[in-house]
């Protein structure tokens, strides 16, 4: 199995650069099969993060407000050249902090601080009517009563009509019925080794679970962001344990 994948011998996990294309033979066929156990692969063999074909509403669930990993997962998927509308509910700001533009690297940002979830949802819908935005990001804490299936369905329809991606981030929310086309659960994972400093955190990594999607099979991946692309990581860093898990 190791032949087809370019794994680095020695401790630690290392991102898989590419998956072996399927034409190489049985060894790489096994390798592809090993990865297939956890999620779909496009036909040419490169793993790509499942992204909706048209801009639509995607929901991100963070386990709690103290885990800020979802932001690093979200930002590379947004076009940074166009204006971004970022709406934060007041309680989300209190618990998880306010957006810091110096850390985002966007060309243009409009930030809205909404008093409650109702105002935040209204602002998101208004933002989705403007076709010149790159995306609308809304942060909501917990499970407010106003965020029900109807509200999410309206957001999804508005996003698809105008072609503006909408990201609804739920900090510490429960996954009830929702009209979102893709629903992720994002948790921060241990980062990759830093190339120069063994003690420093390296490239960002997450444990991303797509538990409901239209057009994709749900799956759970360990993903890392290297060179501005999402790469797969084996779920645990230990290769022997990994083989046992897959073939036992």
């Amino acid at each position: 199995m190791a032949r087809g994948l370019s794994l680095v011998a020695g401790g630690g996990s290392r991102a898989v650069e590419t998956c072996a294309p399927a034409k190489a033979g049985t060894q790489s066929g096994e390798a592809v099969g090993a990865l297939r156990a956890s999620g779909p692969l496009p036909s040419q063999g490169y793993w790509g993060l499942p992204q909706p074909p048209r801009p639509t509403l995607c929901e991100l669930f963070a386990a709690s407000a103290r885990d800020g990993g979802w932001a690093g997962f979200l930002l590379p998927q947004i076009d940074a050249a166009k204006p971004l509308l970022w709406i934060q509910e007041r309680m989300a700001i209190v618990e998880a902090g306010r957006v810091h533009p110096a850390g985002l690297g966007l060309a243009e940002l409009i930030h809205v601080e909404a008093r409650d979830a109702r105002d935040a949802l209204w602002a998101m819908e208004e933002g989705l009517r403007c076709a010149s935005l790159s995306a609308v990001v809304g942060e909501i804490r917990g499970d407010p009563a106003v965020l029900d299936f109807t509200a999410t369905r309206r957001l999804a329809v508005a996003a698809e009509r105008s072609g503006v991606a909408c990201w609804l981030v739920r900090l510490g929310g429960t996954a009830n019925l929702s009209g979102a086309r893709m629903r992720w659960r994002i948790a921060s994972g241990p980062s990759l080794p830093h190339p120069f400093d063994p003690k420093a955190p390296g490239a960002l990594a997450w444990d991303a679970e797509l538990f409901r999607a239209r057009g994709f099979a749900p799956g759970r991946w360990s993903v890392a962001l290297e060179t501005n692309r999402f790469h797969l990581l084996p779920p645990t860093g230990d290769r022997a344990l990994e083989e046992e898990r897959l073939y036992a």
Binding site: G68, G69, L75, R129, A131, K199
Partner: protein
Amino acid sequence: MASGARPGMRLTDARALDPTLLAEPADPTGDAALLKRLARWAGRWSPLVEVDPSTARGTGGEDGLRLDVSGVAHLFGGEERLAADMERSFAGLGLTARIAIAPTAAAAWALARYAPPPWGEVSSRSGDGGGLRAFVPFPPPACGWHPPAGGELFAALAPLPVAALRLEARSVQILERLGLKTIGQLARVPRKSLQRRFREADNPLHALDRALGRRPEPLTAAPYAPSPRALARLAEPATHPEAAGQALERLVPDLARQLAQRRLGVRRLHLAGYRVDGSIAGSGVATAIPSRDPAHLHRLLKDKAAALDPGFGFDAFALTASWCEPLGAAQDSLVEEPDGVGEVAKLVDRLSVKLGAERVRRPVAVESHVPERASGWVAAVEVPLPLAGGVRGGPVPIVRHALPPAPSRKREGEKRPHHLLDHPEAIAVVYATPEGLPRRFVWRRLVHDIARVEGPERIAPEWWRERSSARLRDYYRVEDEAGRRYWIYREGVINDGRGGAPLWFLHGLFG
């Protein structure tokens, strides 16, 4: 001045003559703006007011107003009273005014500036130089200009120096070399001999004619255009709350028409409902870029109109565009074209009207390396929209805070968190050595074991802004065993003399 200091002297010379002189830097743009406002204010005496375009020699800049007071003097009880009223009003503003009333503008200019004390009355007032009043007892022409009324005007102008004719310095020099020092001497010279010595543009003979009224010198008053306003009067008082909404459907197209005629776009709108008992209910709306699109303005005003309280009933409604900016006609002709900047501006308007202007904001880079100050925010309706941004990490508009502007690009290797807590939260940290890397911290009652650390990044306090007891911060980028990444800092170093043991805080969250 009494001590001998005169305008045009060097500051050191003037100070030598009078040590109590105060020196203030000149502000020509501020003075010009003030003069424009004074011109508007001087409309209380005359409808035609103009800021004097000619500069007074030696002082530079504009510092005069010309008013056409034909037919106005009787409203104030005579010219003397008019002049006294003017002087009192200007003194109330703290300005010393030299006022002269004469049949022609040039003569009034000359008298106000150059009339020597024995001619007019000198009224000394609390020692600040006093106001000089000089007037010629002439009825001013009722309309247009008349041939000169006679010798009194000439007699008033004759003793004044030739510089009072508003000539160029060179012409004045030539005249003085020729021995013509006063206007009276100039007038006695035969015209033909002076005609060919001076250029057409700056001929002292023409200036003399203008002063004596033989040549017209029209006054172009600064146009005063009232703000565009749409008024709707109701036939009978309306007490139901939808009255304002219905009136809006008439007011907005009317106002849009007026704006289109004057090629203006509105930035601030004010809707006022006049009640039967005399009180006024009003609310305002702002836009980010000038607009006169009726649909957009109607959408912004709808909710505000519905929120007006009728009280005993509305009699009339007025929609005023209190702040307008020029907006070319070309904008209208692009029908339904998706214009990125315009669309975003309209979105910002809608959000600001409903949620409040201070809740919809844009980032503005501030000259500070303290992280919570470096990201400044400004209301999105106030800031003109940034030009089409470039790539990731592109520049954002900079606000200068008494420091020269610095490049706005993110410095290499400087990592900043995605989210920053408004108030850094205190955490309890366990570390191996006092200046070493942290090992474990407790935040919001949960223990985080630190697996990876990067740091410290030292951010010293801005000594020019903060107290001397402010402590530096050593920032660490930490990752706990679960992978969550935080930005924490230690405030102060042990034994730095500014406090006890340093405290630790959590400032931001990384992705």
